[in-house]
């Protein structure tokens, strides 16, 4: 890939074309920001405190407080006050929650507990009434959660598709380059894996493996290498009889060297496009898997496990967690899809 005058490499040309494409360039920066966020989250630099219960349960978003339900948290005083109010309104004593000491089987225990209460001093933390993006059931900051969830989902998508690309390229390379028996065997693998729908295969794998981020990545790599395999097999088949590969053979380059030093750089632009398509697909799969409970484990957080809390919250009127996840996810997926389209245009060698 010499960058000489007159003949510039495909990558340099592609970069030049991508910079001219405004939408593609903006998408590139947005995706880069998300990748940085994923790395920072994985290293614990961002949102490491997402588990902390910093606010009252379901504290509303600061700016949109009026759109949520009126009550934030019911206390015993609220209930008592409501009971008193209804008593006065009806003019008769309500059944209420108050029991005499004889009727209440727990009265003795409670009296002792309140006597000893002073011994167990809890550090009283001031719980916030509102947060920028609201809080969830346990008073955790939705913004922190969504940042950590973004990090998890991105990491699963990126690592999963990287592993799938490596697997698919190696297998496709061997199949296309050597042909014959190796190709037959690999094509058999390919037909086996493509005859079962991805989602079903993902579920079958996650039925037998234990839950966790690394399992999700492994499962995704094992189920989604097929597209890259087909692509790379066709490319290696086409390139192996080209003159430059024959020339490499003539100067004594080994098979592996010809495959991965000579042919691979010439087809690598296809891999970049394939990588970005696959990442988006895997992020979407991860969301569904985690939602169903077959993805990340319960101690981790991802977009899918956040969405899993959404139906129960919506019924009570707490819409912010779902809105927040949807916003983050659609920004990333839109940027990634636009970047994919721009990359495809920019790196197509037929366009000069």
């Amino acid at each position: 890939m010499a960058n000489e005058k007159g003949s510039r490499s495909l990558w340099a040309l592609g970069w030049k074309r991508l910079r001219k494409d405004h939408i593609g360039f903006v998408s590139l920066w947005m995706v880069a920001a998300f990748v940085l966020l994923a790395l920072a989250g994985a290293l614990g630099l961002v949102a490491s405190g997402w588990r902390n219960e910093v606010a009252k349960p379901y504290a509303p978003p600061t700016l949109l407080k009026s759109l949520g339900p009126k009550h934030v948290q019911l206390t015993a005083e609220n209930i008592d006050a409501a009971n008193k109010a209804s008593e006065q309104a009806n003019g008769q004593p309500s059944t209420g929650t108050s029991l005499t000491a004889d009727e209440d089987p727990l009265a003795g225990d409670l009296a002792e507990a309140s006597k000893n209460e002073g011994q167990y001093q809890e550090a009283a933390t001031q719980k916030a009434e509102t947060l920028p993006m609201g809080a969830d059931l346990r008073g955790r900051d939705v913004l922190q959660k969504v940042l950590k969830g973004t990090s998890t989902s991105m990491l699963v998508g990126l690592m999963g598709s990287l592993a799938a690309i490596v697997l698919g390229t190696i297998m496709g390379g061997f199949g296309g380059y050597f042909g014959q028996k190796i190709d037959d065997l690999l094509m058999w693998f390919y037909s086996v894996f493509t005859s079962v729908p991805d989602m079903l295969l993902l579920l079958a794998f996650s039925a037998v493996l234990r839950r966790g981020i690394s399992t999700v990545i492994l499962v995704m790599a094992l189920t989604s290498w097929t597209g890259t395999f087909r692509l790379m097999r066709a490319e290696f088949l086409k390139h192996k009889s080209r003159e430059y590969v024959k020339a490499a053979d003539a100067i004594g380059a080994s098979h592996l060297r010809r495959m991965f030093v000579h042919i691979l750089p010439n087809v690598s632009y296809l891999l970049l496009v394939q990588f970005s398509i696959l990442t988006v697909a895997l992020i979407k799969y991860e969301v569904i898997l985690s939602f169903l409970g077959f993805g990340v484990s319960v101690t981790q957080i991802s977009w899918g496990s956040m969405l899993a809390e959404a139906p129960a919250e919506l019924i009570q009127g707490y819409w912010w967690q779902m809105a927040c996840v949807t916003l983050f996810m659609s920004i990333l997926v839109t940027a990634f899809s636009m970047l994919t389209d721009s990359l495809r245009d920019a790196l197509d060698p037929k366009v000069k």
Binding site: W188, F189, S191, V192, F193, T194, S195, V196, P197, M199, L200, L201, L203, A204, F205, S206, A207, V208, L209, K284, V287, I288, F291, L292, G293, F294, W303, G304, L307, A310, P311, L314, I315, M322, V325, T326, M329, S330, I331, V333, T334, S337, M338
Partner: protein, 312 residues
């Protein structure tokens, strides 16, 4: 043609063997010893030994694989581990709701997306075209989950236009009462990607020379679109629909879970949740066979609608 079909059917045998091997490795090696799951609370050495003997786990790996091969060959997958019913009767009860649901989604979404795609492709480059493409891209960026959660909440719970969930015994009641909302949401989810793909098929055909020739000889625009462009553009469309048919059987698993429709997809999820291996294995085998049959059908249909295609 006949020889071609025979050859393709024979080619399915090694593939189905591979699927069997994959499932066997997954569930018999990676999955660990299922007798612990099955014994449950009454776990002691005799129960475990009994269960192992019943499942054939005390035999050699090869003999166990032969048992599985026999199950697949006779299509008798034994009994479910979670509710002790024959797997075949469970699956037979699940096919109907799944096919009803996905069939209607497929029908409505295909008719809508093809007609919209041809219209949008006809005015390609215009503001309408760009707006539709933009809306599709945005719509595709939102997870299917969000559409289903939001749709179920607002349309069924808040506005009360549809029942929140459920499924009945009679086809007519399902069609009128329970089906509309899941079908609507399924169509919303699949419309945007279909529309974009079909639009690109149409646009590609409309750039060909034969369209200009047809215009030059004075054919009316509807005739060009319907008779010339449509026929060519539908070739990739029909293929993609044929290929997606078996996927649809499990593809609606989210809708089935949300709306409590007793279909295949929900069964898969429940089976994975309860480690009900026989059910997962049976469904995977059936879907794999269906996928291969539909791939073959897709190639044959391809030949029928496009006489230029040579089957090799």
């Amino acid at each position: 043609m006949f020889a071609y079909i025979i050859r393709r059917v024979l080619q399915m045998i090694p593939t189905i063997f591979g699927v069997m091997l994959l499932l066997f490795i997954l569930f018999n090696w990676v999955g660990g010893d299922p007798s612990y799951i099955l014994a449950g609370k009454s776990m002691n050495a005799t129960t475990l030994a009994n269960i192992r003997a019943q499942l054939g786990l005390d035999k050699s790996q090869f003999a166990q694989f032969l048992i599985f091969v026999k199950q697949v060959a006779t299509l008798n997958f034994g009994i479910s581990w979670s509710n002790q019913q024959p797997v075949s009767s469970i699956l037979a009860a699940r096919v109907g709701p799944s096919v009803t649901l996905t069939g209607f989604i497929m029908l409505v979404s295909t008719v809508l997306s093809i007609s919209m795609a041809s219209l949008v492709a006809y005015v390609r480059g215009s503001l309408t075209d760009r707006m539709v493409t933009l809306i599709c891209t945005t719509a595709m960026s939102v997870s299917a989950l969000v559409y289903i959660i939001a749709g179920q909440f607002w349309l069924a719970h808040k506005l009360g236009w549809f029942p929140v969930l459920g499924w009945g015994d009679s086809f007519a009641k399902n069609l009128v009462t329970y089906l509309p909302l899941p079908v609507l949401l399924g169509v919303i989810v699949s419309l945007a990607p279909d529309l974009r793909f079909y639009r690109s098929c149409f646009v590609e055909e409309m750039n060909h020379d034969y369209v200009r020739t047809a215009r030059a000889k004075g054919l009316s625009e509807p005739k060009i679109m319907l008779k010339h462009v449509m026929r060519n553009a539908l070739i990739p469309v029909v293929t993609s629909i044929m290929m997606s048919l078996p996927y649809l059987l499990v593809g609606a698993l989210l809708l089935e879970t949300f709306f409590a429709i007793p279909g295949m997809g929900r069964e898969v999820i429940m089976a994975v949740d309860k480690s009900d291996f026989p059910v997962i294995k049976a469904i995977t085998i059936y879907i794999a066979i269906l996928t291969m049959i539909f791939n073959l059908l897709a190639d044959i249909v391809y030949k029928l609608i496009d006489p230029r295609v040579q089957l090799k």
